[in-house]
């Protein structure tokens, strides 16, 4: 139990971010018209691709002779990039079609 209190103490800012982000996430999309559900899901999908940053950090810290870690890290960077780039491009393609109608 004590470990968690220490953790909470040390990361209290992060905990605040989590709590506020939860409400923000709900508020921000609360009034979305159903027409935009699919693009919104796709856009959100691209945003969680932010996990790529973790992959980059991991990759950048791996010892240069640890081949297994390098390969796993490389794979992680590729997959994360796929998530980010693919996600944003697909979303744009969906939204492009709405735009023409205006």
């Amino acid at each position: 139990m004590n470990t968690f209190l220490v953790f909470l103490q040390e990361h209290i800012e992060m905990v605040y971010i989590v709590l506020l982000s939860i409400f923000l996430g709900i508020e921000v999309i609360g009034r979305v018209p159903s027409v935009l559900h699919t693009p919104l899901m796709s856009g959100a999908n691209a945003i969680h691709g932010v996990v790529i940053i973790g992959a980059i950090i991991v990759m950048g810290q791996v010892e240069a002779d640890d081949w297994l870690a390098l390969c796993i890290g490389f794979l992680a960077v590729v997959l994360g990039t796929l998530n980010v780039v693919g996600g944003f491009v697909v979303t744009d393609r969906m939204l492009e079609m709405f735009k023409k109608k205006k």
Partner: protein, 475 residues
């Protein structure tokens, strides 16, 4: 100073995600919002690459990082640009799985790293590893959530493109729960008792989580995949947030949690539109929970010939088209638009009635019809459409079934009772295009098809519409 600059990058990134999501939920600003978020992502990524340092040591292995970015960018762009509009949901699922896998791989490397450095400081006689419990817990969380999201998304992807069939066996729910509890319990045990003799069980947990993701999605019906993808989407968000804790990284945390929360809300909104609870969707017990005897649907249906249908529609003053799953599967949106234009030329008013869960994802019909250049104003949402059916001469239903089933209003024993539907039976004539008399996803008969005002036009939506267009031209 450099670190401060990175903090600024992360602040900009987080801000752009929030603003981007906000803009994405408005039709006018949605497209810009997507790029705002993308720009923030680029700032965060390049800021990390060039400015990140830990204890004064900067990141290395640049060739690997840039190679990875390049490969991912090329494949991602090509895949996203080549995919057909009807296959978008699959694509989203696939990309979501990639993100989940990425989170899981990060956990694996961090775990190896932790074990390795803990081993170094160890005397040979001691086997307990001195590792921070909370860090280990976060690594486990990232691993399990990311992996489930990955394997679940892959199955969802396979189901949407028809490669994977539904599979349910007796006691599957029980087995899944046991497996999940087992994974969690074992992860908790390892967290507190990690030692040099048992750390490799970590990989067993990864494997078990893959298995759980597969078993979790397998029994859920194909039409429910949007809900599942949305849920897995928010899972990946949480997995990304775990990484945020691991690296004290605010942008990962904000991005991950935002998506986790927004994804969960979106999932609930989707379920609401189908008048089902999330548990009901996940347990996949459609039809199994109905109370009492369902009203039997009997009677005979009548077919309509193409020429009769063509005449009927040509001389109507108002036609409503109800697109559904069948239209999406047959990719008939373009020919559908052609039909609409042809009728408009003949002075017929044509509107589309869009049920919130028609197609494969909420809003999917709008995207499909927009692709075929259908005017935005011609698409009516459910409530507006229901007000207009009374003054409609012909309703043309294209591959929709459950969303127009009157049992949702009249039969309390029906599994779809209470679901809001398009009240097409208020129109003068109803023409239903479907491939056969087989019941729809909910597995129940539709009394609408047996009503005197309804006539059936069997066939694949695309083929039937093509013939119909030809007939109308000849009228």
């Amino acid at each position: 100073m450099e670190l401060n600059l990175l903090t600024l990058c992360y602040l900009l990134g987080s801000l752009s995600f929030i603003v981007g999501l906000k803009m994405l939920s408005h039709p006018d600003t949605a497209r810009k919002g997507n790029w705002v978020a993308a720009a923030g992502m680029a700032i965060a990524i390049f800021g990390t690459i060039f400015l990140y340092s830990e204890d004064g040591v900067k990141l290395g292995n640049y060739p690997w990082i840039f190679a990875g970015l390049a490969v991912g960018t090329i494949i991602g762009t090509l895949a996203a640009q080549k995919v057909k509009m009807t296959a978008m949901p699959e694509m989203v699922s696939l990309f979501n799985g990639m993100g989940g896998a990425c989170a899981a791989l990060i956990s694996i490397i961090e775990f190896r790293h932790l074990i390795h450095s803990a081993e170094l400081g160890l005397e040979s006689s001691v086997t307990t590893l001195n590792i921070d419990t909370v860090t280990l817990l976060i690594i486990f969380a990232g691993l399990i959530i990311g992996t489930i999201s990955f394997s679940g998304s892959m199955i969802a992807w396979g189901k949407l493109n028809g490669k994977v069939k539904d599979l349910a066996f007796n006691g599957q729910q029980m087995a899944n729960n046991v497996l999940l509890i087992g994974i969690l319990a074992f992860a908790a045990y390892l967290t507190y008792n990690i030692s040099i003799t048992n750390f490799f069980w970590f990989y067993l947990i990864a494997f078990a989580a893959v298995l759980y993701g597969v078993l979790f999605v397998l029994p859920i019906g194909g039409a429910d995949m949007p809900v599942v993808i949305s849920l897995l989407n928010s899972f990946t968000g949480v997995a990304a947030a775990c990484g945020g804790f691991l690296y004290d990284n605010q942008v990962m945390l904000t991005g991950g949690i935002l998506v986790g929360a927004a994804g969960t809300l979106l999932t609930i909104l989707m379920c609401k539109a189908m008048n089902r609870s999330l548990t009901n969707v996940l347990l996949g017990s459609f039809g199994g929970s109905s109370k009492g005897e369902q009203q039997a649907v009997t009677g005979s249906y009548k077919e309509i010939s193409l020429s009769d249908a063509a005449i009927c529609m040509s001389y109507a003053s108002k036609v409503m088209i109800v697109p559904g799953y069948g239209l999406a599967v047959a990719q008939a949106q373009h020919i559908c638009h052609e039909l609409e234009q042809l009728l408009e030329e003949k002075g017929v008013e044509v509107k589309y009635a869009i049920h919130p869960v028609a197609g494969r994802m909420p809003g999917h019909m709008n995207v499909l019809l927009a692709e075929a250049d259908v005017n935005y104003d011609a698409l009516l949402e459910m409530e507006d459409a229901n007000n207009e059916f009374k003054s409609t001469d012909v309703v043309l239903i294209l591959g929709a079934n459950d969303v127009v089933n009157p049992a949702a209003k009249t039969d309390p024993a029906s599994p779809i009772y209470g679901m809001p539907i398009l009240e097409v039976e208020q129109a003068k004539t109803v023409i239903v295009n479907k491939r056969s008399m087989k019941p729809g996803y909910a597995g129940i008969e539709n009394a609408l098809f047996f009503q005197p005002k309804t006539s059936m036009l069997f066939g694949d939506a695309k083929a039937a519409l093509q013939k119909l267009v030809a007939e109308i031209k000849a009228v």
